[in-house]
């Protein structure tokens, strides 16, 4: 029986991390060069981990799926990064950032992890500035900050709308320096397809060279997984096309627990899908809701009319009507849910009837076009470019989209999974955001994990287990076996093409077809709002779709060359299993918490209604085999320092 020990340190909240650091064993400088560490993924968490471990003297092998580590999806983060510097003198503190984050997550994250995140936030800014990250500055030369949702202080540091890009380039520079110094070997365009476990410890990975198809074995004394989130299980999301859940899922299949997979953040202000060919969803800053008014026509008959032909009396400003206190500035999950209700009720606007209006005409009338341009000019320009509609002249069309997953591989306080030697950092783990992530905190977690936690925790693991971590060779059985399984898996995928060709022409479907169908099931039934009934339906539909996939889909080409469709086929195969687990987790969690909204459980005001008696735990799932129900383990969440309250922003 595997047990879940969160290994939270002793002592008061503010001393826990210091206590843990004092307890950590160290590796002597002359011994560090004897250890090889594998880091998979080179986004904020991965690049920061790889650079920091190499700086210490370990031999690092870093892997990324892109053609360069600079392209990880962390670059797409726009808004900013939170830190408790209190530069504006507005009363910020570690406690406040901690409290905002744990409340924002609807009390479903660990106190100790969240507190450590707040503690480290300030160091991250110092680190990034020392690296030459060009943050926004005031005229006096000091760093500028701005405010973000869920907080009453100004603690968000930013580099215009490119904060993620600039922070990543800082970490990438640090990584490139280590490559130049020979302490880190970089493997680009590689996909991790399996984890190698030797004597119960993570000791290596199997990768595929995406340009040549070559399967490779790599060994190490520890594996650090930083492969991001699995939001693309929905097909359409704000995530980049290559973001996927495969590396994490393959670790899960090797025994690592998957925690809280149903927690998915949906962002309310995205440009709606414009057709079946749509490849992704584009996020527009949430700040637009400060001046935009959300509405739909009152009458279904009006949905196809141009908005200016619908008089005031026939417009339903539904957020202002239902939530008079907050109006258009209700929290993300409430805004998302209500947009869905309107579209489901047949009141959606636009050519696809899949959007609600975000109208700036009142604001333009009151404040003038120039004032609005000053505030949102770049966003209006981007919207205009994508939709060919001028938002100064007619309302924007918006609809929610999948944005970030709070679930991920289970880790203890040391960021180690239940598999010894497998560390998981950044979005790939489940740990710090609970059931809902506040804005500007994803970058913070990726870098806190990467720069300041992983290197210490890995050192401790190596020192503590130095007699158990014996030499391994990639020629030994476990590596050969894992490689064989990977190769068999790829052959199985390529055979699907033959099976598809044997089907009648009208039943021949491509990987993308199946992928889109999975996305639709997930969005409709495991999306913004869930019901027990819908989730049960999803649990019937996903296995059926999986069966259809394995009965034959068109996958062109071979495995010995660049073959995008083959890559995607492998990822979709994994999503077809992960999607089912997400639905199962959502069904099992018979309460509403943060972004997990079960319609059966809501307050009179339509807020998420938690059941702390029954569900104040982390759900950690153990793989039992394909088509087998996973086994649930529970890590109770203990709240020693904060009082659990109904989340409210009134």
């Amino acid at each position: 029986m595997k047990t879940l020990d969160s290994k939270i340190p002793e002592g008061p909240l503010h001393e826990k991390w210091d206590n843990r650091k004092a307890e950590y064993n160290l590796v002597a400088p002359n011994n560090k060069k004897k250890h090889n560490i594998i880091v998979v993924g080179t986004g904020l968490a991965g690049a920061a981990s790889a650079a920091s471990l190499a700086e210490l003297g370990y031999n690092v092998k870093a892997f990324c799926i892109s053609d360069s580590p600079r392209r990880a999806h962390s670059i797409a983060a726009q808004g900013g990064i939170n830190a408790t510097k209190n530069y504006p003198n507005d009363g910020d503190s570690i406690w406040r950032l901690f409290y905002d984050t744990i409340k924002g997550g609807d009390y479903r994250s660990r106190e100790a992890n969240t507190y450590r995140l707040a503690q480290l936030s300030s160091n991250i800014i110092d680190q990034a500035v020392a690296q030459g990250v060009p943050f926004a500055r005031e005229y006096g030369g000091e760093l500028a900050t701005r405010s973000f949702g869920g907080a009453q202080v100004s603690r968000t540091f930013y580099a215009r709308g490119q904060t993620g890009q600039q922070l990543l380039l800082g970490a990438y520079g640090a990584l490139m320096r280590q490559v130049d110094e020979g302490k880190c070997e970089m493997f680009t365009h590689r996909e991790m397809l399996d984890l190698v476990v030797v004597d119960g410890r993570a000791r290596g990975i199997i990768t595929r060279n995406l340009w040549t198809g070559e399967i490779e074995r790599h060994s190490g004394d520890a594996v650090v997984l930083c492969t991001g989130g699995y939001g693309r299980v929905y097909f359409l999301s704000t995530n980049a096309f290559n973001s996927n859940g495969t590396a994490a899922w393959r670790c899960h299949r090797r025994g690592a627990f998957m925690a809280n997979p149903c927690y998915v953040q949906i962002h309310p202000t995205c440009i709606p899908s414009s057709g079946h060919y749509q490849s992704k969803r584009t996020l527009m800053s949430e700040s637009l809701r400060n001046d935009g008014r959300v509405w739909v026509p009152k009458n279904k008959a009006d949905v196809d009319k141009p908005p200016h032909q619908i008089p005031e009396k026939d417009r339903d400003y539904y957020l202002e009507r239902k939530y008079p206190a907050f109006g258009n500035l209700v929290p993300r999950d409430v805004a998302s849910r209500n947009a869905k209700y309107m579209v489901d009720a047949g009141l959606g606007v636009g050519p696809q009837h899949n959007a609600v209006y975000l109208d700036f005409s009142h604001a333009i009338k009151e404040q003038g076009r120039d004032a609005i341009k000053e505030k949102y000019g770049n966003l209006f320009h981007m919207y205009h470019k994508i939709t060919d509609e001028n938002p100064y002249e007619q309302p924007m069309r918006i609809f929610p989209a999948v944005h970030y997953v709070m679930g991920g591989l289970w880790v203890d306080y040391n960021l180690m999974s239940n598999l010894p030697g497998l560390f998981v950092a950044g979005e790939a783990n489940f740990s710090d955001h609970g059931a809902n992530r506040l804005g500007a905190s994803a970058l913070m977690q990726g870098l806190a994990d990467g720069y300041f936690i992983v290197s210490r925790a890995v050192s401790n693991y190596l020192a503590e287990n130095r007699f158990e971590i014996t030499d391994v060779s990639t020629d030994q059985g476990e590596f050969k076996e894992a490689e064989k399984e990977v190769r068999t898996g790829i052959d199985k995928l390529l055979e699907l093409n033959e099976k598809a060709k044997a089907k009648p022409a009208d039943q021949q479907r491509t990987v993308m077809d199946i992928y889109r169908d999975l996305g639709e099931i997930m969005w409709d039934k495991v999306g913004i709002a869930r019901t027990g009934e819908g989730l049960k339906k999803a649990l019937e539909e996903i296995p059926k779709l999986r069966e259809e996939f394995w009965s034959g889909v068109i996958i062109p080409g071979d495995d010995d060359t660049f073959n995008k469709y083959l890559e995607v086929a492998g990822r979709v195969a994994d999503f077809l299993e992960l999607g089912e687990l997400m639905a199962r987790d959502a069904l099992e969690r018979d309460e509403s918490a943060g972004c997990h909204f079960r319609e059966e459980h809501q307050t009179e005001k339509g807020e998420a209604l938690r059941d702390d008696e029954a569900y104040a735990y982390v759900a950690a799932w153990e793989y039992q085999g394909m088509n087998e129900a996973e086994k649930l383990h529970k890590e109770p969440l203990e709240f020693e320092f904060v009082k659990l309250k109904q989340r409210s922003y009134e």
């Binding site: 700086e55 392209r71 999806h73 500035v129 580099a159 600039q166 380039l169 490139m176 992704k280």
Partner: protein
């Protein structure tokens, strides 16, 4: 719309390539250029043919993964726009569109429209950073940076490393890319300690990779999806002279 595509097909860097004609039907103006390519590929796959390989990832114009030469222009006809943000309404029914990979000796073709831009990573490896380790650093506000300098540094730092500048340059020069990175650090106090070494090493590396020299044509800046300015290249030249005077052209400090 129906469009007549002439798409470059090439098995790998060592094989000869050729333009293949493909007809793209039912294309709407709302599609991005890459969504048009997705649709074309989906139909090729359904017909039992091999799809056209091309690079893309974020599709928001920020990751720098995508990059096609469209009718001879890197990233296509719209200024300041990465190909993923180019929409088909820029084209008309019946148009012929020639789609080729970025062409430069330093960017070998991987397959079809995909090229290997690892040379850019090696330029960064040779000094495109400040040599600080992870750990406690002075409080971030210890270094004051005047806003105009910070802004200039930021604008240079917005380079997404897509390689369009190289593809557009008749000499396949990487000067815009390299100079943008040099400018970012030259404007900041954090970049001063290694200012000269960085300049010499990065410029040497640029030459070693097989990129050509800059001859002031300016096409690089014209096609840049992030509008990186040509003045960065002039600054790089001044930085190089400064480094020569201070370091004697050596990439290492000598006692």
């Amino acid at each position: 719309m129906t469009l007549h595509l002439k798409v470059w097909r090439q098995k790998d860097a060592n094989s000869p390539g050729r333009l293949e004609s493909i007809t793209a039907e039912d294309i709407t103006g709302d599609m991005s250029f890459l969504e048009m390519m997705d649709l074309v590929n989906e139909r090729l796959v359904q017909d039992g043919k091999e799809p056209v390989e091309f690079d893309s990832d974020c599709r928001e114009g920020i990751c720098g993964t995508c990059g096609l030469t469209i009718n001879g222009q890197a990233h296509g006809p719209e200024r300041g726009t990465a190909v993923c943000q180019l929409h088909m309404r820029s084209f008309s029914n019946g148009d012929t569109i020639v789609i080729e990979p970025f062409r430069a000796r330093a960017f070998p073709v991987v397959k079809d429209l995909v090229v290997d831009r690892a040379a850019f990573d090696r330029i960064i490896q040779s000094g495109g950073y400040t040599s600080v380790t992870t750990g406690p650093h002075a409080d971030a506000n210890t270094h004051l940076v005047p806003k105009p300098d910070a802004d200039r540094s930021f604008f240079a730092a917005t380079c997404i490393g897509c390689g369009a500048c190289v593809a557009a340059c008749p000499n396949a020069s990487a000067s815009l890319f390299t100079s943008a990175k040099l400018t970012q650090y030259a404007m900041l106090p954090q970049g001063q300690a290694e200012r000269e070494i960085r300049t010499i090493r990065m410029i040497n590396q640029m030459d070693e990779e097989g990129f050509g020299n800059c001859s002031n044509i300016g096409e690089c800046s014209a096609v840049c999806p992030k509008n990186i300015e040509l003045e960065n290249i002039s600054r790089m030249r001044r930085e190089y002279l400064r480094a020569i005077f201070k370091m004697g052209g050596q990439a290492e400090h000598t006692d």
